[in-house]
Amino acid sequence: MSTLTLTGRKVVGGKAAGEAMVTSQTISGWGGINESTGTVIELQHELRDQSFAGKILVFPGAKGSSGWSAYFHMTRINGVAPAAMIFTRMTTKIALGAVVTRVPAMTDCDQDPLTVIETGDWVEIDADAGTITVTKRKG
């Protein structure tokens, strides 16, 4: 199995490991997820009806209402938060959301995580060290 390593900037410190869930689409908090199940509910979203609970969520970032952080905050309280977040576009919504979800989070990676990481890959993230190790599911 092939592995690769990305380096990037810590947003929220900590370590986590898990299966990647990758989307090229931004995610809405309020109106976009079910905070009780950790499921994407937005009608036209490619992750619709899929749960990110316990997954390493790899996505461009946040969109929509200012309730973004409050909804991801509730996924933590309800035990259905993602295990970590890797994203490409920094905004106040995603920064505050990652902080209150209290999971390791990284951005500004040296390779495009949306391209080099695929759903199902095994991802180990050490946000304090600024490293992401990806073990490819295929190959």
Binding site: R9, E35, S36, G67, H73, M74, T91, V100, R102
Partner: protein, 424 residues
Amino acid sequence: MYLTDYEKSLLNGDQGPAKARAMDLLQRYGEALGAERLVETANVAGAFNASTPSIAPIAAKGFHRVYSELNLDSDDTVDIPHMAVPTCQLITGIDNDNWKLQGVDPELARMQRESEKFLGKRGVNLMATCTPYQVGNVPVLGEHCAWMESSAVIYCNSVLGARTNVEGKESTGAAALTGRIPYWGYHLPENRFGSHLIELDIEVDDMADWGVLGYFIGGEVEENIPVLNGISHQPNLVKLKHFGAAAASSGGVEMYHIPGVTPEARSVAEAFGPKRAVRTIRYGARERLATYERLQNATDRKVDFIMLGCPHASIEQMALIAHMLEGKRIHADVALWVHTPRAIRQIAERSGYCEIIEAAGGVVMSDTCPAISRRMPPGVRVIATDSAKQAHYLPAITKVQGWFGTVSDCINAAVTGEWQGVAG
């Protein structure tokens, strides 16, 4: 992130545990953003009160717990002191008077009122609207704010020239207790210049047209800063309120410039400052029609619910709706709710507008809206609204069909029970 001696003293608990928790959250948040420092703010608009079923289990542990958990991200329950700076509550889930019509459980309605007592005692002004700028919170040019509510943020940055990012429940909770927010994004003057030039090839005049234009622009520029050139008519508060809400819904726009209208751009050149437009986008009849059609999420012309007042209606809108409904009767199969801030409702009552709307069979709601509360009259299948924002969100959130059109289209549908709106 750099902290001043005063900020360090708050973090160390010199002014009690709640402010220490608030500063800890601001430090974590500021570092996540990559902010270099915090900035002073004396204008906070957030979401503090307990109004939803999901908060009820936390509220059962007391309102100090609600604020600690949801507004400070604190594991410990800390005693919440008086707010450090002027702070207001934005829109909430329950209309304190019309909660029965909303189908709210009495216990939940009581919880919201109790939480408001707790907050009011601590200096939270219970404006209970998505439009604080309509009821007395009107920040001035250059004022640093910490606001939630995407439609209020875009108004604050663009029309008023005050400075805020889209904040959240936790960051506004911390800002209210400390008077600080990360100095990042729209607080920095260099981040406030235009990025995309929008050339208008057609006239844009009435409120619905401004909503369609906003919805189009949001889809085109996403989170960037559009600059509108070639406006045919001077817009006012109502039109810009609708324009901004639509652009923030379809694209996440937090700031725009209309040279000659908005205060940070007297000219197109000033709007772009040292930057140049990365793209020029034309808006003509074809774009208008395509956007109008994108806002229609319905096929069934038999409507059963008319939603007006998103963002919350101004007094002029209340007067117009009353005028259009005067002497008419809303169709027996249709419910019509108009949403306006409670302070404006009082003026509307005094002016006789509420009486006219109610005599026609409509309901004047305050404090909330169907998208926030997720509550509508029972059995609603097809809605009609004059708000591009509501047309965007309600069908997605509540799985109803949705028509979008002018206020006149909506009133006509209310009276006949049938949607007859056309692109015009």
